[in-house]
Amino acid sequence: MYVAAEGAEHHPLVPIWQELVVGTIAFALLCFVLLKFVMPRMEAMYQARVDAIEGGLKRAEAAQAEANQLLEQYRAQLAEVRTEAARIRDDARADAESIRTDILAKAREESDRIIAAGRESLAVERQTIVRELRAEVGGLAVDLASRIVGESLADEARRKGTVERFLTDLESAGAR
């Protein structure tokens, strides 16, 4: 055909060879520059972003899982602590009860003891007093009698027996 000659007819399907050359060189230049300087960084950035997003998601998931686990753990601990506290409270209540009964029992025992001791000492005192009184009253009575009679009763034994009998009669009369 009549390629690129000035003023000649052009067939639209016949390329102009200078344009082929220019197109090849220009496109090659474009490819060289962009494929060397731009596109690798773009793919790298793409990957980095995918990593960042996926990594972020993964991290978030891990954090979530950890949080859940901690929550579970805390819940378990809390429940444990609650039962522990309840147990301690129960124990304390039981302890208090037993202490109270203990103290009560001890106090009762003590009071019983004190009362018993008091009674005993009272009885002893009474015994002593009775005994002293008996001797004294006996002596006094004998003195009085001997003074009245003017002479000492000869028979000691009889005298003692008389006094004793008298006092016993007195006592039984008093107790009655």
Binding site: P12, P15, I16, A26, M42, Y46
Partner: protein, 259 residues
């Protein structure tokens, strides 16, 4: 009337093939077409260098635009057509896509008004690269014999059919594919420019008419020209997409093991 003033006498009517071959600016090497090619190359290099000078994980606006284009080609063309293998071709496809889009859009850019791809030389260059690429990749991946066998012989066909099928398959893979690749892009841009010429120049010719009715009708011609200009935007993007998608598809079949 001003219309008559603009529509001076020697309007080129009807539009002809010669309208696509403007006088050289300075010899056959420096023409409007070669300058537009350099302009496209320059614009793309500047755009990508500017937007990707300092890429960040959280992109700036320009970086986001550049990445959107890359993402479109990477995910919607390369991965769609070729699977995971396609991603390593995504950079070249992106360059190819951008180059075709920009040169196509020159067809409706004020002041340029014609796409370099309406000269078949440029689509031929691009199609030839795709052609060499898919042949080379096929032969390198599978070896010459296996690649030819895979390309020409359809498995599971009774052998007498091969007498018919092998020439058809040969024609298909080694001749029709690259030719249609180049001609499709060229013809779309050629036709698009012709349509715009028909409606705009036709509008002026109608305005220059003596008949008032024809002068009024020219309004529709201009409206149609505007409509077709928008349509041309669509065609420009679509043809770039088709070109790159088919290239990806051809390379994909070269890589594939089966037929």
């Amino acid at each position: 009337m001003s219309g008559q003033f603009i529509a001076a006498e020697g309007l080129p009517w009807p539009p002809k093939v010669d309208d696509f071959y403007l006088p050289d600016l300075a010899g056959p090497w420096v023409t409007k077409f070669t300058l537009m090619i350099w302009l496209a190359v320059g614009l793309l290099i500047i755009f990508f260098m500017a937007t990707y000078r300092n890429p960040k994980l959280v992109p700036s606006k320009g970086q986001w635009y550049a990445e959107s284009i890359y993402g479109l080609v990477r995910d919607n063309i390369a991965r769609e057509q070729m699977g995971k293998d396609g991603i390593r071709f995504a950079p070249y496809f992106t360059v190819l896509f951008c180059f075709i889009v920009v040169t196509n859009l020159f067809g409706i850019t004020p002041g340029l008004q014609i796409s370099p791809n309406s000269h078949i030389a440029f689509p031929i260059v691009l199609a030839a690269i795709s052609y060499v690429m898919y042949l080379y990749i096929g032969v390198r991946k599978q070896g010459l014999g296996r690649y030819l066998k895979q390309s020409l012989i359809i498995p599971g066909v009774p052998w007498p059919m091969h007498v018919l099928l092998i020439p058809i398959e040969f024609l298909q893979t080694f001749i029709v594919r690259p030719v249609t690749l180049a001609v499709r892009l060229f013809a779309n841009m050629f036709a698009g420019h012709l349509i715009l010429l028909v409606f705009t120049v036709g509008g002026f010719v109608m305005l220059a008419s003596d008949n008032i009715f024809i002068q009024v009708t020219s309004v529709f011609s201009f409206l149609m020209a505007i409509l077709m200009a928008f349509f041309e935007v669509l065609v420009a993007l679509l043809q770039a997409y088709v070109f790159v998608t088919l290239t990806a598809n051809y390379i994909g079949t070269s890589l594939a093991d089966g037929h």
